[in-house]
Symmetry: C2
DNA sequence: AATAAACACAAACAATCGTTTGTTTAGAAA
DNA sequence: TTTCTAAACAAACGATTGTTTGTGTTTATT
């Protein structure tokens, strides 16, 4: 019954507090100012802004948006709270940027997969694989987009929800078509969708680059388990 | 591609904002003062305290602990913020009570199932079933325990994490034994555990008593999908 | 060398936070 | 009645919140 080698405690799927990685790859599309909300301020050192965003993603993931102060964030970045306002517009804009970077990436992945050829089962697998991959490459940002989006302010809150719904509808359509094609079990589409999206969420909380399980192995195991089930076929 | 009948938008498993139900069943074990943290203050009207706790669970679920003020909560309860301090010790105590009510219930369910007879697959199914059932009966509290426990203060934060770990270890042991007995596929135990616990989490965000899918149907579909997989066996 | 822009910080702003205090109301116990 | 106490509110507490202002320092451009 060894659990230690693998996991940060997961009671009922809680955001764990990882040892602060001090540096983030952040492969989400770099801070395009999300339409109508955030205009960049970068001048001399555009990397400072990204540093703030990365550190904010980790802070918000660990403590939550509402429980994190700008002074906390400043301490992590190594800047006075006031100084950060040379690089960002507001605390809200930070959250906005993180959330929409993630949602834009997810939408882009959906569009790509939708245009692929091949059976629906392969499309679903590929979309799920990319979904998981974003978690392993941009875990903090994904975590914030998943857990802290409620703190977005109003027109953007609605926009985010709409983006989310678009992603879900696209994903659900693949499942529905897969069922119709006889590739998948005839389960309730929404139950299947939510279960899939939900099932992979622990990755964003658990995965750290140094883990014994590689990201590729994780992807494979996870997808196999979801598509084939835990139970051993009675054959 | 009808998704509407079933679901609140689930992008990557976000806490949805439900229409405020105005009344909660709250079948978690009623507010035993968690050891060393909360001593009840009830005098004349002990039900007022529970009303505050119920309303807090919904508020914290919708907006998050850090984004919810005592004045917000008071407005929902129909009381001045100050008046609530006749019934509760502090804002932290509210969160503490909610989190540990949930974790205590989960631990109790684990202990019960561990003592059952029968194959491991049945034990796992039963534990999963009770796990889901607590979400459908105490969704708001479960959601808060899952998402807001990070805001607990220190010694209780550690206690909560330990309770969570105990639950996980017990659950993992069942899976490991099931694999050893040849009842389950030989997957990585932790991957299986986290995937199962994670997969059912959308229920806490999606389920509402008035849904077209009954709680029982939901339980059945969900468990079947996780144990048998989404893919249609190529037979 | 001079100018201007980019950036950092100290100090302070109003607003809001959780909570305490003092007082009043209302019902139960004597 | 009188007495006691639970419970509600108004007002205010100090602390902290996000953010602005003013001023200085660095750095690149002319």
């Amino acid at each position: 019954m060894r659990l230690a080698a693998i996991g940060p405690p997961l009671f009922l799927l809680p955001p764990a507090m990882p040892a602060k990685p001090t540096a983030t790859p952040a492969p989400v599309a770099a801070a395009l100012p999300a339409a109508g909300a955030a205009r960049a301020i970068k001048k001399r050192q555009p990397h400072k802004r990204q540093l703030i965003l990365d550190e904010a993603a980790h802070l918000f993931k660990e403590r939550g948006f509402g429980n994190s102060s700008m002074r906390d964030l400043g301490a992590r970045v190594g800047l006075d709270a006031a100084s950060m306002y040379n690089h960002i517009r507001s605390k809200d804009e930070i959250l906005d940027t993180i959330c929409f970077q993630v949602s834009n990436t997810y939408i882009a992945q959906l569009l790509e997969v939708e245009q692929m050829a091949g059976p629906y089962l392969e499309k679903i697998t590929e979309l799920l694989r990319r979904h998981v991959r974003l978690m392993t490459t941009s875990g903090a940002a994904v975590s914030v987009a998943n857990n802290e989006w409620k703190a977005l302010t109003e027109p953007r809150l609605t926009e985010f929800k709409e983006a989310r719904k678009r992603y879900e509808k696209g994903f659900a359509a693949l499942i529905e078509q897969g069922i119709a094609a006889g590739e998948l079990q005839p389960v309730n589409v929404s139950v299947a969708l939510f279960t899939l999206l939900s099932a992979v969420r622990w990755v964003e909380l658990w995965y750290r680059p140094g883990r014994s399980l590689s990201a590729a192995e994780l992807e494979a195991d996870l997808i196999t388990m979801l598509l084939d089930g835990l139970k051993k076929p009675t054959a």
